[in-house]
Symmetry: C2
Subunit: 337 residues, 2 copies
Amino acid sequence: MKLKRGIFHFNKDIFVSGFAAVAGEKEAAGPLRGKFDEIFKGKLFGEKSYEKAESKMQSFAVKKAMEKADVTAKEVDAIFAGDILNQCISTNYGLRELNIPFLGLYGACSTMAESILMACIFLDSGHVKTTISVTSSHFCAAERQFRFPLEYGGQRPLTSQWTATAAGALVLKTAKTSSNIIVRAAVAGKIVDYGVKDINNMGAAMAPAAADTIERFFKETNTLSTDYDLILTGDLGAVGSMLLRDLMDKKGYPLKGRHNDCGIMLYDKAEQDVHSGGSGPGCSAAVLCADILEQLKNKQLRKVIFVATGALMSIITNQQGETIPSVAHLVYFEKMD
Amino acid sequence: MKLKRGIFHFNKDIFVSGFAAVAGEKEAAGPLRGKFDEIFKGKLFGEKSYEKAESKMQSFAVKKAMEKADVTAKEVDAIFAGDILNQCISTNYGLRELNIPFLGLYGACSTMAESILMACIFLDSGHVKTTISVTSSHFCAAERQFRFPLEYGGQRPLTSQWTATAAGALVLKTAKTSSNIIVRAAVAGKIVDYGVKDINNMGAAMAPAAADTIERFFKETNTLSTDYDLILTGDLGAVGSMLLRDLMDKKGYPLKGRHNDCGIMLYDKAEQDVHSGGSGPGCSAAVLCADILEQLKNKQLRKVIFVATGALMSIITNQQGETIPSVAHLVYFEKMD
């Protein structure tokens, strides 16, 4: 087998066995209303802090995905997870009671694709049979960590995105499951930095990483956007999506109406005042698990490329005048008959 | 093959192909003096911030390990890396120019073992042939992020540990290499929380995670500490090491003089005033790559269990009164004739 660097075609059939998505009230009132497994009301969900609230949401998503996949925590061989809070605390605290071998990741908003990619390699290696991939984000926890205290009421520029209060979890298995959705391939992203410095325009910083990863996949598989039903990016939002389509045109791989973006899909642009769209690891995780996998299950979609993008900066690097490096990991889902 | 949950015995021979360790002046003046590939003098290493200095160190370690393994960046199929700065910036910025498929991890001070475990599963799956595992830490960057500005001159209690200014990088291959050091097995840790809240006593918080992982490995492999030359923990320091040995006695798997700890090995207890010992992801990475792998290469050691431990809290969780969950990942190295 000739290896294509960073492109993984799985030898085993890796089945989507169960998936769950949870969201806050704002997210659950958007275009995907009625599709979430649980709606968390208010901001704290009965917890004492936003961070603990996010942990609760992530934990709930995992338990719900296990329930829907009909597996217990004891049957899960490994869990792949991370989030964007400092030291990934929503993950570390949210999952600590599960007693499942734990592999922590940091991919910023690319975490859902990274965690699925990781799980697939582990499953394909034969060392595990059942895995969970999960991530989350919480608007209030992210806002006070990355931007301003909520009470400050900072104004957001039109290029900025709204961190989704949401989580998504996915159970994968090498044993055949009735969903008949198979993860066929994945691409590990490279760090890409086009020199964008504006932390209120993450979409622009991340679009080049998405373009790089999608181009690599098309080239190596000798396919085009028209070979797929949907090319779904993580959370480029409106501005980043426009840039991605431009970049793909220039690379000679136009997306030709096959592209959509989780950050655009999650909120109602006219009604919900989120400017350029949604963001946060929970955004793409929740859109994937609430909507896209359901559409695959129901054969409304057959071939979906999921590309979650992450901006790899911190407040400190921004204050030090640094540009924003980004990464985009890709996972390819196929629905079988 | 019966799967043992979270315990991975690799089917392929996974060879240590090259390794490099770099350190700051204090670390290079300790018991491991003369063993580092490069000593970084001062605190900033010609950069404008501690964070950029750490990135430089991590990048240097990777390049040196590639040079010693005689591989170019183009020949590396994937790099597994992370650190403890918020959003893993030393990694994201340190590695951005390499153009290698990048998989970001967050395991706090357990990162070196986690990154080796990940690389081994990828190698064992056949999807990659050459990988790099790397991590780093910098005393000044960590201190101002987790504790106080350096200028404040905060007093450190005797149970506290000193974040090492150091980095270690390791090239692994499935092709045979002259070192003849093989990674035979690995164990993915579970999140363990014994209720310790004192962030100036990380060793105590992490010891139960190390004990859990080591016990699982001994049980599943039906071995005892006496079957190995060295059981090397990441950075439990003096206090945590004592607790680990007590816990292992109680579990019926006494370590019987086979145990040492990177946090203890890196500094001179009498001369260097680091209290309970070293810590930080760079501590265990540098001790492994400066000393232990060299001893394996020279047949001074034959069978080494490397268990890096990570405390999974943040400043925020500590301020919110939370306990400190921990994780410990294990990697087993064997020197062949």
